[in-house]
């Protein structure tokens, strides 16, 4: 795990991820400016850092209702504004970028932040960026696989010799600067299905997987399939981390949490995905088996510990700012995480027993 800067003896890592969505607050109908939104992300990361969270990441999206097109630039501002928290992308769409440029950006981010930068590489769930950035959608899979491989090679080799289909060959190329410790943690973003997780397992890279709704035990199948694929290819599954992500919102009572957050999710999904989030599915967040971590702090603690028992994952990332959540509510969430949720999660997931 140390290759990935993770120390399991300290308990499961807890972080926040944002897609950088830029949507109206459905409770008021008002949308802040893009400027305010990107500055908000920096302040949110600062709060997360001060509250002792482990990780903060920003996604890359190139479509209306998002402000995170230049996610690496936002992360640079975050690097400057924070001290200890690890930072990364969630995800970087490697398919439509040059891996050399991505690596240069994130290695620089690592230098600026004192060795805190990571890359999560993904394939994009929306595909408008292929046209915007000049790529052919027919190459969706091939672009990702080739560019992700190159990114990994650049991370491992100081002098790169490479040739492929989608960019000119590299001959004795030095990709500089190098990160603080010589390499960066690089994760593969995976959709919910085992089929996609298996590909990450075959490559022997850490996996981060999104979980929108449904019972933890079903998502466990994805994680099991990933670890089986790792083992089948001769990797040590105990040494490669798994991270999960999902909706998160804490309030004093479960009812208040559901009431506060549901309109953000529902209206936000309508705008960004074309369909709302079923209220019935959201209501099932009250069941301890549901993956949606929305509720009172105590309920969330129980759910995350239950998920940890199922998955044995090393990092959980909460999405608590989706759909125009007002900043004071984000602040309140960070406060509840820092004072109640995080200490309990750490205490019970530390290696060496539950009463440590």
């Amino acid at each position: 795990m140390e290759n990935y800067r993770i120390d399991p003896s300290k308990g499961m890592e807890f972080g926040i991820y944002t897609l950088g969505d830029h949507l109206a607050n459905p409770h008021t109908g008002e949308r802040i400016s893009a400027q305010e939104r990107v500055q908000q992300l920096v302040r949110l990361a600062q709060l997360a850092d001060q509250a002792g969270l482990d990780f903060f990441s920003v996604g890359e999206s190139h479509q209306p209702y998002f402000a995170s097109q230049a996610h690496a630039v936002i992360l640079a501002a975050i690097a400057q504004a924070t001290e200890k928290i690890k930072i990364g992308s969630s995800s970087t769409i490697i398919s439509t970028s040059d891996p050399v440029r991505v690596y240069e950006n994130f290695a620089t981010l690592d230098l600026l932040s004192g060795g805190r930068a990571e890359i999560v590489a993904g394939r994009a769930s929306r595909v408008g960026l292929f046209e915007l950035l000049g790529y052919d959608l027919h190459d969706y899979e091939a672009l990702f696989e080739e560019k992700f491989d190159l990114l990994l090679q650049i991370n491992q080799e100081e002098v790169v010799n490479w040739s492929g289909e989608f960019r000119k060959p590299l001959r004795n190329a030095q990709v500089l600067p190098r990160p603080v410790e010589g390499s960066l943690p690089i994760w593969r973003a995976v959709g919910g299905t085992p089929a996609s997780a298996i590909k990450a397992g075959y490559a022997g890279v850490p996996m981060i997987t999104a979980m929108l709704g449904g019972p933890a035990s079903v998502f466990k199948r994805t994680i099991d399939a990933y670890r089986e694929a790792l083992t089948a290819r001769g990797f040590d599954a105990t040494q490669i981390p798994v991270a999960t992500t999902g909706f998160f919102y804490a309030a004093e009572t479960t009812q208040e949490a559901l009431r506060d957050y549901y309109p953000h999710i529902n209206e936000g999904m309508k705008k960004t995905n074309g369909q709302g989030f079923p209220k019935q599915l959201f209501a099932q967040a009250q069941d301890h088996r549901s993956i949606i971590n929305v509720g009172s702090p105590q309920q969330i603690i129980e759910k995350i510990l239950y998920q940890h028992e199922q998955f044995g994952h090393q990092r959980y990332l909460a999405q608590l700012d989706f759909g125009g959540v007002p900043f004071e509510k984000m602040e309140r969430n960070i406060e509840l995480i820092g004072t109640e949720i995080l200490p309990a999660i750490k205490k019970y997931t530390k290696q060496g027993g539950t009463d440590a």
């Binding site: 479509q63 769930s125 929306r126 595909v127 408008g128 959608l137 027919h138 009812q255 559901l258 009431r259 549901y262 995905n273 074309g274 369909q275 079923p278 209220k279 019935q280 209501a283």
Partner: protein
């Protein structure tokens, strides 16, 4: 209630004739309905390439977004090679997997022969179910001998189309009230 009809073929006239008749009958009973009848022959749709429906442009964006906005859908289909036409299947392929969640779907089938009666039952309904539609159980099957010179001459088809419209509206209202009742119980 927003009502959208789709005549799912780009050739021939019978499906469009039957759908137009459905529209006449429906508007007699529900004159205030917010409605639009789409004939695929009027649009140029691209083949589905798996992207989110919001990312298509032109006619493809127009038709998919109209369907997604509907509360009640009426799907009109001819039978080609013992199945629905590829043009109609492509429309379904363009939409998200659960595109018809909280929507009611009624079906009108036109066919050259009565031998095709079960095609909608066995091939169209499973698609609509998979996409989460509440399907009006009975559909209207109209065959070659029911048409003459671009008109439907079988009175029974007129009456069955009336009933299809009523059943679709009733089902939509019932589903809406059940959903509202359940969601009110959630109290959030």
């Amino acid at each position: 209630m927003r009502v959208v009809g789709l005549a799912g073929s780009i050739v021939g006239s019978k499906t469009k004739t039957a759908m137009s008749l459905l529209w006449e009958e429906m508007l007699k009973a529900y004159p205030d309905a917010d409605h639009e009848l789409l004939d695929l022959a009027d649009y140029k749709l691209q083949f589905s390439d798996g992207r989110n429906y919001l990312e298509y442009t032109g006619d493809t964006a127009y038709v998919t977004q109209k369907l997604m906005e509907a509360d009640i859908l009426f799907i009109g289909t001819p039978i080609f090679q013992a199945s629905i036409p590829g043009t109609l299947k492509n429309v379904f392929d363009l939409l998200p997997t659960q595109a018809f969640r909280d929507k009611v779907a009624g079906i009108v089938v036109t066919a050259g022969s009565a031998k095709h009666y079960l095609v909608a039952e066995q091939q169209l309904k499973p698609i609509l179910s998979y996409m989460k539609a509440h399907i009006v159980a009975s559909y209207v099957f109209v065959e070659e001998k029911d048409f003459l010179n671009g008109n439907v001459i079988n009175d029974d088809v007129h009456l069955r189309l009336q009933r299809l419209a009523e059943d679709a509206f009733d089902l939509a209202e019932a589903q809406l009230s059940v959903r509202e009742k359940r969601e009110a119980e959630y109290d959030f």
